[in-house]
């Protein structure tokens, strides 16, 4: 008689088994290897590393395979794994000036020391489906030239020499760690950048776009965008010096923003900054625009009430793992609360009906 609306252990197990089968798909089609994902879906791997806050292309590729290509689910797998890892220490700050650049462009100067290097970009491709890829293609080959060795200076440094751009704010305080301490406001810039770096790409893009359309417009030029690998060094106390422990690929964006001056600052250019794991220009540029919008207070600008200026709004809603969890949890059972609402609505309706009857009688 009692309809069993409640699931149990067996239902969960069966659901998991079905999920695994669906993940594998048609058995007549060869299974994807983790290495194939790592090599051929590398931008997906990069996004999972960036928003998962863990630099490990193999694990990110495994997560993408396990999540059937659902990147937020893959990011979640990486985050849940990451949180269990012990912390040995912190690395030295990376030096992006020493980056071995695959790509480095400036939208503010036609040419500059270090040159404009397009690198592997979609920018000037015509978005026509390449049906050759549907067949088995030959391995594509790109022309080669010798790389130029040496530091590639940052564009903003040239502007800085003339005093045309604000000094990069120096902060020697140890940056807070978003993953080890609860997010509390007000958040300093280091914390905001940390949150933005792992923020959802779509959310960050939307916010950045809103500033371009007039919600706290900050007139951004891409001073420089660079993608490449940088060495990561760690100070080993037993040795007394820093050792290179590996390399990471990063995308860095520095925006140069118009600034008419304020009560406290003369007219000069200001900075927005974006830095993310892997190759992700969309995310890095978005991050720089949002960073700049969030700096309104320290630059003495007006609060226009725009979403991208609102630190609390941005930081509390930028994390896609938090957002998707809370959003999707409403599919869990809520019948106890719903029952309480049912009783309330029935009671209010009964009283409203009684009220109408009485009014009619009067």
């Amino acid at each position: 008689m009692y309809v069993a609306v409640k699931g149990g252990e067996r239902a969960i197990e069966s659901a998991h088994a079905w999920l695994a089968e669906e993940r594998r798909g048609d058995l007549n089609i060869a299974e994807l290897s983790v290495a194939q994902i790592r090599e051929q879906l590398s931008l997906a791997v990069d996004r999972v590393m960036a928003e998962g806050s863990l630099y490990d292309p193999d694990l990110a590729a495994l997560a993408i395979k396990q999540s059937r290509g659902d990147l937020i689910e893959a990011i979640f797998l990486i985050r849940a794994y990451r949180t269990t890892l012990p912390r040995f220490g912190a690395t030295e700050p990376i030096d992006t000036g020493a980056m071995a650049c695959d790509r480095r462009i400036s939208a503010t100067f036609k040419d500059l020391p270090g040159g404009q290097v397009l690198g592997p970009t979609f920018d000037y491709t015509h978005r026509l489906l390449d049906f050759k890829l549907a067949a088995d293609g030959d391995a594509p080959e790109a022309p080669m030239r010798e790389a130029e060795i040496g530091e590639v200076p940052h564009v903003t440094e040239f502007l800085n020499r003339e005093g045309l751009i604000e000094e990069a704010p120096h902060d020697t305080a140890e940056p807070p760690d978003l993953t080890r301490a609860p997010l509390e406001l007000p958040a300093n810039r280091a914390l905001r950048l940390q949150a933005l770096s792992r923020a959802d790409e779509g959310f960050t893009l939307g916010l950045a776009y809103s500033t371009q359309r007039g919600y706290a417009r900050n007139h951004a030029f891409v001073g420089e965008l660079r993608i490449g690998s940088v060495p990561v060094e760690m100070d080993i106390p037993e040795l007394g010096f820093a050792l290179e422990i590996g390399e990471v690929t990063l995308t860095e964006c520095e925006t140069v923003n118009q600034f008419m001056g304020s009560k406290t600052e003369p007219p000069q250019f200001t900075r927005g900054y974006g830095l993310v794991f892997g190759q992700s220009e969309r995310k890095a540029i978005s991050m720089a625009l949002v960073d700049r919008a969030l700096r309104w207070e320290e630059l003495g600008e007006d609060n226009q009430g725009a979403p991208a200026q609102d630190t609390e709004f941005v930081l509390y809603h930028a994390d896609n793992i938090q957002a998707t969890g809370f959003l999707e949890h409403i599919k869990l059972p809520h019948y106890v609360d719903f029952q309480a609402e049912l009783e309330l609505v029935r009671k209010l309706r009964a009283e409203a009906d009684a009220g109408h009857v009485q009014e009619a009688a009067e």
Partner: protein, 285 residues
């Protein structure tokens, strides 16, 4: 990674220590929301990550663990959380309220009164009772520190003037020891009277919102109301169709296409115990 590769109850000892500190602070300042460095758990935010972290921090190998969701031990997420701790902590589990030393719950307080030997852990989605009146955390923290709760009373008053009743049926706000206004998590207001003067320790964990708060045993907890509109713990006006209980919280179940309903205890252990003791409801098979 195999389960053996994880620490007892999943979290590492330093993390548990951090959570225990937050719990102790919460117990020392009843009803105050203590920020804590919530970890990403292997289940999604919204599935009880706060409660799971609190349970992980208080569980010992000798504990006997019970998990309920909507009052029931066999709802899918209760099953999932119970099996998580079976795997990662190897603790004994039970569905019997009286036999459990730690009970994790979502949306209900068990019908059977708890004892001094028990801990009740709540899963909390939005720990801030003022959140829907003021969306900014920076503001609501100020309101709590200044004991500025006028807005809440205005909201309740407006409910009465508009509907004739306070239109909050669950997550009904309470005041703790005359100081902090607290969200009791989304339990039906039927359960509110059980919060006060309870013998067991009550711990509240909100993972995504990074907050822990607590009620030590025998704390004064008062549901907000007005003298001329006193708080009323309401439930469906029926008896349980299976065990005949008249004072337990009921689920409404639709049983056929014509929309016929039956009402049964939401607390499955309570209902089963009563039936085992010979109580019979109208539709007991």
């Amino acid at each position: 990674m195999s389960e053996a590769a994880y620490n007892f109850a999943y979290l590492d000892e330093q993390t548990k220590r951090m959570i225990r500190r937050a719990i102790l602070k919460g117990l020392a300042v009843p009803g105050y929301q203590v920020p804590f460095a919530s970890r990403e758990m292997p289940m999604p935010y919204g599935w009880g990550t706060g409660g799971v972290q609190v349970s992980a921090a208080v569980l010992t190998p000798d504990d006997r663990f019970k998990v309920i969701d909507q009052g029931a031990d066999d709802t899918t997420n209760a099953v999932s959380i119970r099996s998580f701790f079976e795997r990662t902590a190897g603790v004994d589990t039970t569905t019997k309220t009286a036999e459990a030393s730690v009970i994790q719950t979502r949306h209900r307080i068990p019908e059977e009164p708890l004892t001094e030997d028990q801990i009740l852990v709540y899963q909390v989605p939005i720990p801030e009772p003022l959140r829907f009146l003021e969306p900014r955390e920076s503001e609501t923290r100020k309101m709590h520190s200044l004991e500025e709760y006028g807005l809440m009373h205005v909201k309740l008053y407006e409910d009465i003037s508009r509907h004739g009743h306070i239109a909050t049926s669950y997550a009904y706000p309470v005041k703790v020891e005359g100081r902090y206004v607290m969200d009791p998590s989304p339990i039906p207001k039927f359960d509110n009277p059980k919060l006060g003067d309870m013998a067991a320790i009550q711990l509240f964990g909100a993972g995504r919102e990074q907050r822990i708060y607590a009620l030590p045993p025998y704390t004064q907890v008062v549901s907000l109301d007005f003298e001329d509109h006193p708080f009323e713990a309401s439930k469906a006006d029926h008896a349980c169709a299976l065990c005949g209980a008249e004072h337990s919280y009921l689920d409404e179940v639709i049983v056929d296409d014509s929309g016929k309903r039956m009402f049964v205890c939401s607390d499955t252990d309570f209902c089963e115990s009563r039936r085992a003791a010979g109580h019979v409801g109208e539709q007991a098979a």
